[in-house]
């Protein structure tokens, strides 16, 4: 997936880019509306994350201006948090909004929800050996069989799918699956991995435990 992040705060932008890159997304960064227009002129994006207060104007005006010609879904990042502002953002054509400061897990969850609603899943399927994983729809299919996965199972499988053949530690998996404040222990990861294993049993995708190191996904070759 290719994202455009329009955000003038450098640190925040870098952190968001870093986080989205972990999921294997490519993120272009624009610090101003002018830069954003340049980016949009040369590339197509799957999703735009748009700050509302930018040095050269109001992100919402930009949204209202470009909404007609723009197919790409937009999530507004706003530090203005009044109810009326939030409703206003949606009226102006944003697909969703998130108020700063935000939880990265929530940002990811909202991005996924918007992409799913906009039907962006077809282009985003990942081949796992003979099976086909659709992280937005949350399905794993293999031949005629298909399983629906629950949210954390999807997240877990997605992390593995983005890092094929790599060993992932429990800590790494925890960061991706839970927001910072859930009081989960590493045991929880074992529970979820166990569940995922049972769900995808027989689909040609396996998750192996490497004692003391973590987990690794293996796939049957097609």
């Amino acid at each position: 997936m290719r994202y455009l992040l329009v955000e003038d705060n450098r640190e925040l932008a870098e952190a968001v880019i870093g986080r989205l890159a972990l999921d294997g997304h490519a993120v272009d960064h624009a610090g101003t509306l002018a830069e954003a227009e340049d980016c949009l002129a040369v590339a197509t994006y799957d999703l735009i994350l748009l700050d509302v207060m930018l040095p050269d104007g109001d992100g919402r005006d930009f949204l209202a201006r470009s909404r007609a010609s723009l197919e790409t879904p937009v999530i507004v990042l706003t530090a203005r948090a009044q109810v009326s502002d939030r409703v206003g953002a949606l009226d102006q054509g944003a697909d969703d909004y998130i108020t700063k400061p935000f939880d990265f897990s929530e940002l990811e969850a909202r991005c996924r929800a918007v992409l799913r609603r906009r039907g962006g899943s077809a282009r985003n399927q990942i081949a796992l050996g003979a099976a086909l994983f659709d992280p937005l729809a949350g399905t794993l299919s293999h031949g005629a069989t298909s399983v629906d996965l629950r949210n954390r199972e999807i997240r877990l499988l997605e992390v593995f799918a983005r890092h094929p053949g790599q060993i992932l530690s429990k800590g790494q998996l925890m960061d991706r699956l839970f927001s910072y404040d859930s009081d989960v222990t590493e045991n929880a990861i074992e529970v979820y991995v166990g569940r995922l294993r049972r769900r995808i049993d027989g689909m040609g995708v396996r998750i192996e435990t490497l004692r003391g190191l973590g987990y690794r996904m293996e796939t049957d070759t097609a």
Partner: protein
């Protein structure tokens, strides 16, 4: 405000004062004219009478003779019960009548009728007299005919007319006062209407006044509109200012939170992790509080002057569910919506924030892997959204207390919140003429919060 009296009363008093003055004046005039007319009538009759007598003067054998024609006195009888006196003198000699009747000085020359007022036998009299020169033999003798009449009749007539005039004046005055009250009221009506139009407005309604008004009120309306414009501008400026302030506070908070979250991923020491978590939590607490406080203020502000629009609670619930779905998914909570159309009339922005707060609680306080059930119903005259969760329930103590400001339950340890969510929801519903019901979920487990609104 210190009043300077009522314009209406002042106008009425002024008009009534003018009416009173006019009444008294006209009464005085009528009285005077009546008296004059009565006097003139008396004078005319007296003149006719003296003329009639004087006409009979002639000389016979050197003697001045006269007759007293009946008509000369009968015409005087026309004026009331007044008594009549007369005297005819030739030179110094009284020919007939009352010798002591005062005779006005005979200036005016012969043939001219002279009038005078005097007293005779204690009564006020009006006297007319004429002098003719009669040739008695060879010498011309001036003969003076004088007729006098008491003035009671004149007084009576004048008094009668004056009384009538007084009645008319009083009637005129009463009618005039009534009319001036009405006039004052009608001329002040546009002012009243303007006042009503302004006072009907809510505190946030600062649209300019657009109504037909008499030209005298145009400057006032212009001034009001200009004031409203300025108010609107400064209000919008302060709203912008708050938004800008929120932006300025939240942006660095976002940076802090981001850095902390990144650091959290790279540190390995548990104590460090704990510290970072606390830091993130503090950021979340403060931004949540700021957001909820702003929302609460917005509710208070908008509730005064509720902008009403038709809202289908089913749509509202669907939108809110869609908005919170990602949050629920993060906890593996499934949002299940059963809805029938339920129309209400209200402020969509506020209703959205009420439901969002209730649903947010259900998700926030429920454990993972549970279901939150939303049911939109329309029962009799009420439309409802019931949000039922499988969480820990509202705990001991009266549930009502949880709608108090900043009140949090005992089950909130480790869960970020400001204690304003239910307060906001309740105030929104109250502003809409509805209520918030708090109870336990199915079979006494979990929580069921119901938003109740009057159907439209």
């Amino acid at each position: 405000m210190t009043g300077t009296g009522s314009i209406g009363r002042r106008l009425t008093l002024l008009l009534a004062g003018v009416a009173a003055l006019l009444s008294v004046l006209s009464w005085g005039m009528v009285t005077m004219l009546a008296r004059q007319a009565a006097e003139r009538t008396q004078d005319n009759v007296l003149a006719a009478s003296v003329t009639a007598i004087a006409e009979t003067l002639r000389s016979e054998q050197g003697e001045v003779r006269l007759e007293l024609p009946y008509s000369a006195f009968s015409m005087l009888g026309a004026i009331g019960e007044d008594r009549v006196f007369y005297t005819v003198t030739a030179g110094d000699r009284t020919l007939t009548g009352y010798a002591d009747l005062p005779v006005p000085d005979g200036r005016g020359g012969p043939g001219r009728i002279v009038f005078a007022t005097g007293t005779y036998r204690g009564e006020a009299i009006r006297i007319a007299s004429v002098t003719r020169v009669v040739l008695a033999g060879t010498s011309p003798v001036p003969v003076t005919v004088t007729v006098a009449q008491t003035r009671d009749g004149v007084g009576t007539i004048a008094a009668d007319l004056s009384q009538l005039a007084a009645i008319l004046a009083v009637a005129f005055f009463v009618v005039a006062v009534g009319l001036s009250a009405i006039a004052a009221r009608t001329s002040l009506r546009p002012l009243k209407e303007l006042t009503a139009a302004v006072s009907r407005r809510g505190p946030s309604d600062l649209r300019p006044l657009r109504r037909a008004a008499p030209s005298e009120l145009a400057p006032l309306m212009g001034a009001l509109n200009r004031l409203m414009d300025r108010l609107n501008l400064s209000l919008r400026r302060s709203e912008d200012f708050i938004a800008e302030a929120a932006h300025r506070v939240r942006t660095p908070l976002a940076t802090v939170r981001t850095q902390a979250e990144i650091a959290l991923r790279s540190v390995t020491d548990d104590a460090d992790k704990q510290r970072l978590r606390q830091m993130i939590r503090a950021v979340d607490e403060s931004s949540r509080s700021a957001g909820q406080l702003l929302d609460h203020a917005t509710v208070a502000f908008r509730a005064d002057d509720l902008p009403r629009a038709p809202v289908d609670l089913a749509d509202l619930a669907a939108r809110t569910v869609a908005a919170l779905e990602p949050t629920a998914a993060m906890k593996e909570i499934r949002l299940q919506l059963d809805a029938v159309p339920a129309q209400v009339s209200g402020d969509p922005v506020l209703l959205d924030s009420a439901l969002r707060n209730v649903l947010d609680n259900a998700i926030k306080y429920s454990p993972e892997d549970t279901v939150v059930h939303l049911q939109v119903m329309s029962i009799a005259h009420e439309a409802r959204i019931a949000v039922t969760d499988q969480g820990p329930g509202l705990g001991e103590g009266p549930a009502r207390a949880l709608t108090e400001r900043f009140r949090r339950g005992s089950n909130t340890e480790g869960i970020v919140g400001s204690g304003l969510g239910l307060t906001i929801a309740e105030e929104v519903l109250r502003a809409h003429g509805g209520r918030l019901d708090l109870g336990a979920g199915e079979r006494g487990k979990g929580t069921c919060v119901t938003l109740v609104l009057p159907s439209s």
